[in-house]
Symmetry: C2
Amino acid sequence: MSWIDDPAFAEDKPFGPQTLPYGVVETANGPTVAVRVGDHALPLRPIADEFTAELAELVTARSLDPLLAAGRPAWSSLRARLVELVRSPAAPEGAVLVPLSETRALLPFTVGDYVDFYSSRHHAENVGRIFRPDQAPLLPNWTHLPVGYHGRSGTIVVSGTDVERPYGQRKTDDGPVFGPSVRLDIEAEIGFVCGGPVARRVSTSAAADHVFGVVTVNDWSARDIQAWEYVPLGPHLGKSFATSVGAWITPLEAFAAARVPVPDPGHPRLDYLVEDVHWGLDIHLEVFWNGTLVSKPDFAGMSYSFAQQLAHMTVNGATVRPGDFFASGTVSGPDKHQRGSFLELSWGGKESVELDGGEQRTFLADGDTVVITATAPGPDGSVIGLAEVAGTIRAAGD
Amino acid sequence: MSWIDDPAFAEDKPFGPQTLPYGVVETANGPTVAVRVGDHALPLRPIADEFTAELAELVTARSLDPLLAAGRPAWSSLRARLVELVRSPAAPEGAVLVPLSETRALLPFTVGDYVDFYSSRHHAENVGRIFRPDQAPLLPNWTHLPVGYHGRSGTIVVSGTDVERPYGQRKTDDGPVFGPSVRLDIEAEIGFVCGGPVARRVSTSAAADHVFGVVTVNDWSARDIQAWEYVPLGPHLGKSFATSVGAWITPLEAFAAARVPVPDPGHPRLDYLVEDVHWGLDIHLEVFWNGTLVSKPDFAGMSYSFAQQLAHMTVNGATVRPGDFFASGTVSGPDKHQRGSFLELSWGGKESVELDGGEQRTFLADGDTVVITATAPGPDGSVIGLAEVAGTIRAAGD
């Protein structure tokens, strides 16, 4: 029986001892590395004496940056020690459990480069049909490489941060006009936080050594701005105003029981994209719009794994550094209730989505709150949690 | 008569006392902030006593990061004091001049987000004609907004760094193949290093307070990789392997006499893109391919100024931070000898470029060296220099 007295800290719950995600919480002594146990944060600085000197240095830092840089052996040692500590009947001396409701979680790491992929075939086909109705929904390169682009790392914000409606240009019959976006959307995604030594040409086999952990992502998107700006160099202002990430990073190690093959592309893969271990992940997402569950996308259907994405991203010789971050792209399934964006759920704004209470919506209204949660199967029938990513839309500012 | 005895330190030379660009050089005591005077570096740490306490703290740092964050008033004070010191007949106590040839210059700042624009109409039209011959060369959005995209900040390297030929997928009639790029190219650009307080919705009038200085840029581009990957989300691996920047950042203040209007777009501009001061810059670039001058692009013809680019980049609410960096896009003029990429000079590889000695080239061969230099008019008939950006192609690695 663990010393942690929290009914949410159980193996059949997302944040039991099988999960142990890392975050950074504000305390009276400043930002502190913590692990989430059930509905509590366990700050690690007060129990630093429980760790080896090497690990103590990592857990007493003010962000996860040193831990990300430390690499896989340190990640495994720390996780093993934490499992012992949270499963122990006796509390470590000095341990303090803080209810999450009394905790302010911070963005837990310094984001280097941010790449957003586009690896759901259903999403890519839906968007193709909506944006380019006169063309084949899937472009010829899509089944051969994980299409992706760089996003703005400086506007990645932690779950709970309000998002101000962006301004921008949108096209009208009388030419472009400027104003607050009128088609503000979400993208439900899964993100991967990089760590370990700086590397280039990371193989699919080595990819797991360069990924510290996994988070939920909401890649807010202004569809009107995006549709006008995106040719020929891709999305820019339609995406760059904000990307929200979950406050707690679930270690990749927690997903051992969630590994699945990625779907076959229907033709041979180029060698560098072949996986010798499966790194598709059986993650189930849920998207709540003002409290109404509007979509349940399954990540297992994604056409490229994070290992393939990382191999692709670095195969040209580009380096990956600790703190670099990449996201899967919108997760959409074949069915309507599995679509991971409101663009798709409303089919370009043509079909409204009914919220509890009967309200009809297409895109986001000021004051709307979106929450995305996710879980995956854990070992021995347990469940692995990915912390929610939540955000509320504020009116466009002055 | 200045104490600096260097014939290149003269007002009719690019690196006289009217220019004074900042860099960071390796010394026995580690990386040191320096200014360039003629063909010498003047490290500032040894003469820190010559500055106020506030400025001394900035010039004794190991990178330009604190100076970038300090903002316009500090930039102006420091420059004014440096002008006094370098024009003085007596050397400051402890001053050491190091010949540039004996100096190793480092990337002088930590790059935050990197945005690459596409603001030369001639370049955009040329690329449109080459890549999309069946369509109008200029897409409809181009004259209404400065099209741009995020690049990879982690692979920005300082002038003099070798560039390894990237690997990637390219299209063939039998489907995509993987290998070293066979159409490796340059893009001659001008880049802008951001500083001052974190800001959003920076107006064109305020933009100069958020730009510390100006550098030459070579945005290396693998055209075969790019052509296959870039739809619909823009360039990724075709660009992300390396972007080279000049080692010395010329302060924006040095360009007061180089300001020119940007060309009229032929229709009214949206308000946020209107300039009340001209921030087009009369910069002249030269591109040398293995020593042969192959192009002389003029920056004055660019359709968007850095002030318009920064206003656009932040108008949606995105923040700009010290260390963020943005580049103009390839600078090409109306004439063939003004094209800023080999894609254009060789018209998609169809026309070869003759180098001194008679060698015929289209794209880059291993061992090739490209040097881009630039100058602008300075006050009273002087000339302002932008330090060269140089890079040599290494064969694709193992």
